[in-house]
């Protein structure tokens, strides 16, 4: 009599499950790209070929620069399973400081390029302190960063005291219209930031540690990785990127004002999630984020081009974002923000 080999059946079952999970993972990875392509096709049909004409493509590239840099910073924080609510403040603060320290209409300082260093440096410092508060004072990241949203707004408000400086440096005022290979200057800055973040994520130990900490802190800790240093590093990197985003915003507006950062946090978070990065941490990455930002920017631009009634546009936008999240995000039981 032939005897069944239960272990073989179990192995087959396990292998089948792995194959099925891999298939579903591949689908999940492709989903954001498919959503983006579907959206482009819909807008191309409804708005006409000018939607993807060179001029509107430049508009989309211009409009995605700031959100992309913000979302890149947030991606690493979300990969940890944490959250950073300081964005609106730190982006506005960096933009205000930058405009105050270059040649401008309100103040006599002119530090030239060094003003970028000041603006980004202060934002980075704020990120560092958020990280320190989170790690050593055991304050939840959303609370520490929420407090810093106000602190940064305060610094921004003090910097120009109700009189927003208009940038007068001819080199900087020329930047919004400067292009290289048909791509606007500020988009190049965002692309460089993306390459930098991709390099950190894929080719450095720090990048791998971010995934590990986001998945399960005890594993990297058991092999001697300083989880604390990784977390502080991530918040500092995010502060750096928010600072760069603020400078991009000020260059684009030609003026420094804390409103540069207004309403940047939730769209960035939506872009990261729509791109497929998990809020629970450990999954996703900056490639997902660039797709997510493109989805959000194309959606915004497409609805404007279609002249959807402003009274219903916001609601329509919300519904489309919800559908995109349902189609693309990696959902699981673990959705708590650490």
């Amino acid at each position: 009599m032939m005897k069944l080999n239960p272990s073989a059946t179990l192995t087959e079952e396990f292998a089948e499950r792995i194959r099925s999970e891999n298939r579903s993972n591949r689908m999940m990875k492709l989903a954001p790209v498919l959503v983006l392509v579907a959206m482009l096709i819909v807008f191309l049909v409804t708005c006409g070929p000018s939607f993807l004409g060179p001029q509107n493509l430049v508009n989309i590239l211009n409009q995605m620069a700031l959100p992309l840099v913000v979302a890149l910073g947030l991606t690493f924080v979300i990969m940890l399973g944490s959250i950073d609510l300081s964005i609106d403040g730190s982006v506005g603060m960096a933009g205000s400081l930058f405009a105050c320290f270059v040649l401008n209409t309100e103040f006599s300082y002119n530090f030239g390029f060094f003003s970028v260093v000041i603006a980004v440096g202060v934002s980075m410092l704020c990120g560092l302190v958020i990280g320190l508060c989170h790690v050593y004072l055991k304050i939840p990241s959303f609370m520490a960063s929420f407090a810093f949203m106000y602190i940064c707004k305060g610094i921004g408000m003090v910097s120009y005291q109700g009189h927003p400086p208009t940038i007068k440096d001819p080199l900087i005022t020329a930047l919004p219209t400067t292009t290289f290979l048909f791509i606007p200057f500020i988009t190049w800055v965002a692309i460089i930031m993306f390459v930098l973040c991709f390099f950190i994520q894929e080719y450095t130990a720090f990048g791998r540690h971010i995934y590990a900490v986001g998945t399960n802190e005890s594993i990297p800790r058991s092999v001697g990785v300083s989880v604390e240093k990784v977390k502080i590093g991530v918040f500092t990197l995010a502060g750096f990127l928010f600072g760069v985003a603020g400078v991009i915003g000020a260059i684009r507006l030609g003026q420094g004002q804390i409103a540069i950062g207004d309403d940047k946090m939730f769209p960035a978070q939506a872009a990261v999630v729509v791109g497929g990065t998990s809020l629970a941490g450990g999954k996703g990455g900056v490639v997902n984020t660039i797709v997510g930002v493109l989805i959000m920017t194309v959606l915004d631009n497409g609805l404007l081009t279609l002249h959807v009634d402003p009274n219903i546009r916001t609601g329509v936008q919300g519904i489309i974002i919800l559908v995109a999240v349902i189609l693309t995000s990696a959902r699981g039981a673990k959705v708590i923000s650490k």
Binding site: T105, M157, T166, P176, Q255, I260, F266, T305, P310
Partner: protein, 394 residues
């Protein structure tokens, strides 16, 4: 342990809800704007007061320092302006107005302390701020308030009245309530006429376009009183200029960044646009950046409201068409001067006729490079001893 987690979760959830509510609250806030060239009162006086039969020359009412009791001069008076936040250039001028008035108090020997009550766009916070301020001053308080929303105007006055201080409001209040409902503590309510503002800048824009062509309309926060009134003014002007066509209309939410995105996107579709009407100057800044990027700055007319420094400079340089100043210095300074007269007892609020309790304040239309240059050299200089000097006669 489990209990602690539950409590922590509830706390976190309530904080998040609060946060979301605060963010959402922005949707109902009102923008404090500026006005038109010669502003008739925005609305007829309300409150059911009959015009008084007295013959007092209220227009020339004068604060005579010699009549102020020494006891009052030696009492520390608390001054405040209650606003949405000083990051807005227009609001900063209201604070400057308070400082100008404080110089007047120095000149007559009045003891005082002053502060800014910053609501950060939160209506509940604005009322709380006012209540705390009035209670701390124990009746020795005067304030200018720009209610964040129409609906809180009465609550603000009530918060002040509870402690016996005196308040003047500006811009926002419901039509069916007014200073007469809280005499004497709610002294006055003033507002430049936003319909006239919207109309005047539109007319200047259309005239600069030769009376025909395509325009973009960048509205402020939808549903906001100031925005609605300015758009109503625009529509009046559009009715008079049938050859002007609105090809794109949307909201920039008072925001420079959003206005830039709107105009940038529309310019791709309508490169032949002749003018851009914006509901405030922050959005004019964004529109001008989009025009600059498209190489159209100076060729397409742009107009707004608020007389922001950069927009006035653009008008002086020929890169923008028109803006309007509601003169925040005047609004802040004179409102406090009238409230001061009430606090000292020199002004009998109960005897004040209705048309001196609710009235329009003057505005300046800046619609030419010459007017812009004149405004750039403007140095506010007011005679606060005649506090009704700020009233536009009907």
């Amino acid at each position: 342990m489990k209990k602690r987690k539950v409590i922590a979760t509830i706390l976190a959830a309530s904080m998040l809800v609060g946060l979301l509510a605060a963010c959402g609250g922005g949707g109902g806030t009102t923008e404090s704007p500026a006005g038109g060239e010669s502003t008739p009162p925005a609305e007829e006086t309300t409150g059911g007061e009959e015009p008084s039969g007295d013959t007092t020359d209220w227009a020339n009412f004068t604060i005579d320092p010699a009549q102020i009791p020494q006891e009052k001069l030696d009492t520390t008076l608390h001054l405040a302006v209650s606003v949405r936040g000083l990051e807005n250039p227009y609001i900063a001028t209201i604070n400057d107005g308070m400082h100008l008035f404080s110089e007047y108090l120095d000149s007559i020997g009045q003891k005082y302390e002053m502060q800014v009550l910053d609501s950060q766009g939160d209506s509940a916070k604005e009322v709380d701020n006012m209540r705390q301020f009035a209670a701390m001053a124990n009746g020795n308080a005067i304030a200018y308030a720009d209610p964040n929303e129409d609906t809180i105007a009465y609550s603000l006055a009530e918060a002040m009245a509870e402690s016996g201080g005196y308040l003047g409001t500006a811009w926002n209040k419901p039509a069916d309530v007014g200073p007469a409902d809280l005499t004497p503590n709610w002294v006055i309510h003033t507002s430049p006429d936003n319909v006239v503002n919207g109309y005047n800048i539109a007319k200047a824009l259309f005239d600069s376009m030769g009376g025909s062509g395509q325009i973009f309309v960048v509205e402020g926060l939808l549903g906001n009183t100031a925005n609605n009134d300015r758009v109503a003014g625009l529509e009046q002007a559009l009715a008079e200029y049938p050859d002007i066509e609105v090809v794109a209309k949307d909201t920039g939410n008072w925001n420079t960044d959003e206005a830039l995105t709107l105009v940038e996107t529309w310019l791709t579709q309508f490169p032949d646009v002749g003018g851009i009407w914006c509901a405030n100057d922050n959005m004019v800044t964004g529109a001008m950046q989009a025009l600059d990027a498209a190489g159209l700055l100076g060729q397409v007319g742009v107009c707004g409201v608020d007389a922001n420094t950069d927009v006035v400079e653009a008008i002086a340089n020929g890169n923008a068409t028109a803006t309007v100043s509601s003169n925040g210095y005047l609004q802040g300074g004179y409102t406090l001067a009238i409230c001061y007269a009430a606090w000292t007892g020199l002004l009998d609020v109960e005897a004040l006729p209705a048309e001196y309790r609710e009235f329009a304040t003057p505005t300046v239309l800046i619609d030419s490079p010459e007017a812009a240059q004149e405004w750039q050299s403007y140095v506010p200089d007011f005679d606060f001893s005649r506090p009704f000097g700020c009233r536009v006669a009907e």
